[in-house]
């Protein structure tokens, strides 16, 4: 009883067959990349809510939003916009920054609320597809209460590169247009 002896051609053929079966799915899989499914920046997203019997999301018009100390005093949102949510980018080179919500509407002209963020920017490697992003660990958030009633931070107080609402700005009802 002698087991068959195979020549080197058979061996190479077996190896080549298995190679093909192995490489093909890997090659096909390698062609697809997940890409950066998250964002490449971490910016707090704030939503406006009206305080009433039951707090609800609202769209606000007649407000200007800008950062204090921004070179050029650039306004990020102008009063002619109807805003349900606003992005409030934080300065990456500092540990605090202030944002102003100025009201330009009848009865509230000249009023403004200031939001002061205190945080630690942490440079974070997210992935090979998204690269490096600053995450912000929020230590405290202070604000004036002319029109703003209160602000809530959603989640773990860390601003990630995920496009979700991290802040809820509850406003007194008067200047707010119901959604």
């Amino acid at each position: 009883m002698t087991l068959p002896k195979y020549n080197i051609l058979h061996r190479l053929a077996a190896l080549a067959t298995f190679s093909l079966c192995s490489i093909l799915p890997m090659w096909l899989g390698g062609c697809s990349s997940d890409g950066c499914l998250e964002g490449q920046t971490a910016i707090p997203l704030a939503g406006f809510y009206a305080l009433s019997d039951k707090p609800h999301a609202v769209s606000v018009t007649g407000i200007a939003v800008y950062g204090i100390g921004q070179p050029g005093d650039s306004i990020l949102y102008t009063p002619d916009q109807s805003l349900k949510q606003i992005y409030l980018p934080l300065s990456s080179l500092n540990t605090s920054c202030q944002w102003v919500i100025a009201y330009e509407m009848q009865g509230l002209d000249g009023l403004a609320d200031t939001l002061s963020f205190h945080y630690s920017p942490v440079l974070t490697f997210v992935s090979n597809d998204c690269g490096c992003v600053y995450h912000y660990h929020i230590h405290s958030l202070q604000y004036t209460r002319h029109v703003v009633d209160s602000i809530a931070i959603v989640g773990d107080s860390v601003i990630h590169n995920i496009d979700t609402e991290m802040l809820k700005i509850y406003m007194k009802v008067d200047p707010v247009m119901p959604n």
Binding site: T2, L15, S92, L93, N128, Y134
Partner: protein, 330 residues
Amino acid sequence: MSHHHSLHPRRASLLRLLPATMLVALVLGAAFNGRGQRRVTPVNTPATTTQHINATAGDTARINAVRRATMAHYLNENGFTVYVDTLDGTEWIDSTSVLKLPKMKYPLLQDLSIGVNIWDGVMRAFGQKYGLGDISIKANLHNRYQPTFEVGLGMAKNTPAALNFTYRSPLAPYFRLGADYNILYNSNPDYQFLAGLRYGFSRFNYALDNVTITNGYWQQDIHTSIPSQSSTAGWLEVCLGLKVKLVGPVSAGWTFKYHKMLHLSKAAQGQPWYIPGFGTRGSNIAAAFSIYYTLPVGANKKASQKVNIADADTSTDNNAATQVDINAQQ
């Protein structure tokens, strides 16, 4: 009239044949009927008294059973039962047991092999930005169980196009410990189809250089880096592979791996992209292509052994022995 005269002889001959036909049918019927009802009265003669012996003279199973009952026996190193005739010392193997393949056809330590995985090295030549290579030591037990230890070195340096960093992971060692199971364990050891498990472990550093971040609203262009972070990773691999002898003691083989991270250090500034020995963190599939050098530790000793097998089923002489080289395939 002429018509009547012409038919008459034929009818006469038919009438003459009818009794003869009936007689033959009667005789045949009686003969077949008598066979079914025949009764035989046994008569004891010298021939009939030895009839059962003569009838089973060639029944090797019966003969073997009688021999087993009167003989001592032992198990040889191949797992065969060897019967010893206590009168003349003849040894023979029960052919019915030879037909069943022994549980362990090959010796405990069939061979040792040392392999070099060149997959990452080849892939780097085609643009892969990570990996280096590893060496494996594998013991082949009974051509079936193959405990394996692998040690290797890995590194990475990658600057993706249109992104804002250079990932750098300096040379770091990794280890894998596990075993393979040769599915073709009773076949030629030159061809092995292996399924196995590994636990992999690595401790390594990684850093990100040349990080550029632009903060549009605050008009900040930042050039920075993430300093070296240390990390420890452990993972599990499920392997499927093929090993084929090419020439002499040289073999080659593919291993196809599905791996899953079991533990990875937490990192304040982001998890690593590349883990030595594992590959990129987001991928669950990896491959290896290794060249092996096999040291035939137990195979040589085994190859010279020959076993005498009494092939009682094919020989009228029960003492005749057939030489079978069960290791001829080696």
